[in-house]
């Protein structure tokens, strides 16, 4: 008799599964799963109508903290390509998801495992991988897509993977890629022109997201609010940061939207700096659904923040 509630529970569970899990027919499109939304945007741009792209992140998450949802597993199970940032960016969620997906095509080292960091010259490669330096990325800082020129290498990697997977569509992929790169190159010239007055302007951010961006546009990346990557700031660290920002007249505090506003805001108030909120991947804030829109937003916000202080 005591088993009855359990049986009922089991029946409800099975009915739920059957109702929600009925599978429609497989699409003929190439199934591409990306970890982050910028890579999804690039994959759509290069793959066009030939691909069906699914991003694990929606854009608002921390790039290192996308929740490991079991609902990702069936999607990854059917994926032809798994496109990732690399440089250990996704170490907190991707390895376990890959194992759970049971899809040999997209495992590490296979053709379907598309590491977009191939060909990127890494910045901030740590001398030691000890945890005393925080949650460091042993291969180097993984936030290279915030530099649009480096992003072109990621696009090239996606193109190569698509061509390798479906060589019969090479001409289409090439046409799509060239069209997108032409658009991106024009925007890069525009962004470089807009950012020219910001050369040498100092800024701090919550997490170490911006070394590639700063190098591209000649800005001075002064430091981070986090004590170390992934380690929250201590009171002493904030005190020292505020003192050095005052001494060096750092005018901008960047807060990434997945981090709380309280600490960056307080630092900005204490130093007289301007706090701005910048997305780190498309969809991070409204009206940044694509990579180009996101970079537009970042550049305009940064430029406006500096100019409004003059």
């Amino acid at each position: 008799m005591k088993l009855k509630p359990l049986c009922l529970y089991l029946i409800i569970l099975l009915i739920g599964v059957l109702c929600m899990g009925v599978m429609p027919g497989h699409a003929a499109k190439i199934s591409v799963v990306t970890t982050l939304t910028d890579l999804a945007d690039f994959s759509r741009a290069v793959g066009g109508e030939l691909v069906e792209v699914h991003s694990l992140a929606t854009g608002v998450e921390d790039t290192h903290g996308v929740p490991m949802k079991p609902s990702f597993v069936p999607i990854m199970n059917r994926a032809d390509l798994m496109v990732l940032v690399g440089f250990d960016c996704e170490h907190a969620f991707l390895p376990a998801l890959l194992e759970a997906s049971k899809n040999p095509r997209i495992q590490y080292g296979r053709a379907g495992y598309v590491d977009c960091s191939q060909g990127i010259v890494p910045r901030d490669v740590p001398r030691t991988t000890g945890h005393s330096a925080g949650d460091v990325h042993p291969y180097g800082n993984p936030h290279y897509t915030l530099d649009p020129v480096s992003a072109k290498i990621a696009i090239e990697n996606i193109y190569n993977a698509l061509v390798e997977f479906a060589p019969q569509y090479k001409a289409q992929f090439k046409r799509n890629r060239d069209a997108y790169l032409a658009k991106l190159n024009a925007k890069i010239a525009e962004w470089e022109k807009e950012m020219k007055p910001l050369k040498g302007v100092k800024f701090v951010s919550y997490h170490e997201h911006w070394p590639y961006f700063a190098a591209r546009f000649g800005m001075d990346y002064f430091g981070t609010i986090e004590l170390r990557p992934g380690i929250d700031p201590t009171a002493r660290h904030i005190e020292e940061l505020v003192a050095s920002m005052k001494a060096q007249h750092v005018p901008i505090v960047v807060r990434e939207p997945q981090f709380p506003e309280k600490v960056p805001k307080r630092i900005a108030e204490q130093t007289g700096a301007t706090m701005i909120t910048l997305p780190i991947m498309p969809g991070g804030v409204p009206n940044t659904e694509t990579y180009i829109k996101m970079m537009d937003y970042i550049v305009h916000t940064m430029v406006n923040a500096v100019q409004s202080r003059k």
Binding site: L3, L13, V22, E61, K69, S71, V121, I231
Partner: protein, 482 residues
Amino acid sequence: MKFMITFITLLFMLSLSTGTFAETLEDRVRTLEENLEKQEQTIQELRILQETLKKQDQTIVEQRKLIDELKAEVKQSQPSVSSDSSAANQSAETGQIQQQVQELKEQVGQVVEAQRKVLPSEFNPSIGLVGETIFSYRSKGSARTGSDRPGGFDAFQRSVELNAAASVDPFAKAYVVANATADAHTGESTFNIEEAAIQTESLPWNLTVKAGRFFGEFGRLAYIHDHELPFVNRPLVLNQYIGGESRTDGIQVNWLAPIEHYVSLTVGAGNQFGGDVPPNDVGDFRHLGGWNYWGRLSSYFDLTPDISFEPGVSGLWNPKTIDRGGQLPQPDGSTLTERERRLVGADFALSWKPLRNNQFQSLTWGTEVLHSNNRYDVNATDGTMFNQSVGSLGLYSYLTYKFHRQWSAGFLYGYVEDAQDNKAKTYEYSPYITWALSHWNQLRLQYTYTDHNAASGLSPDHAVYVQWAWIIGSHSHGWQQR
């Protein structure tokens, strides 16, 4: 008239002057001769000078001619010579630059490769170490609480876990978890292999096979290591019905349903199940009925992007337990010998994890209900022997709220009926707070009130625990830690 006077005056003066110098005419001739000689000498010198100048002019003209000729030659030859040399120079420079770029590329590649080679995750195998120390105070002694730790103040190095994992070949990976822990009674360190298993990675039909010693997949928390639990101690019901961690020596197959919805099915078989209870009697000859068989079906639903529901059901059956645990003495003096082990469970986790700041905020409600229905041979105090099934129920439910990247707090409720005597009931109430300084360094403070009913023969107990857990070396974020 004036003109005539002037003319006469001049003639007079002239006649007068001629008369004055007539006397020195010889002197004047001599002077003139000397002047003439001087003039002739000067003329001679001038002639010599003129000759010299003529020669110099000629030399200059010749030199100018030569310069012009040379200039003409230079003009003719210079363009071809300079263009050739500049082109050569340019091409040499380009070659040098290309070579330098190539060398730079190679150096960068080598640096990158070198960096990759020293990664912990690239070691073969990757190795990590987990340590866990428990400081505690219990209001009652172990005889009155049934605990394997003494009452009063206690410090206990519960575990030092050495983890190693690597790919075996393109088809499988293997891992080992070796644990050194202080013996509950002697305090001596004992070293044992908690897990050592091989797991396939490339089987078709969404299958994975694991074999060796491992934590069998049963329920929500039974197959999670102590230091990974959301609270200090494993819920009482898991200790009672499973024997702590779900350790087994056997084989387990997992299948992911090939549908759009997540459904995972696991079945396994092993000759024991549960880490802390003495394993089945080795016996003289073991039939397949002497093995434990278990299974788990689980699924997952995204109710909203931020809220998820993850249910599961599990079952364990050992048709012929072969005296698992030996003779089990009862408070009334009788003994039980387990002959069949049956355990079923249902569990769920309801989670709220806002996508945007899930690193800083989340709320998880986890619950698991287990029903044990073991069959025993009873050796009563009056000497009679009979067969008896004991059905008992147990559950735990916890709520953990994460309110900061480093801080979370929660409450655990537990209830269990003794698997051998369902009249003996125990309750536990445990508020806890966790401070995770980083991924690898975590402190937890927990208060536990344990209440027993009269049938259990045990006394209520207040306990305070401080747990300090740390990780060094390689670590991975496992699927069960999601």
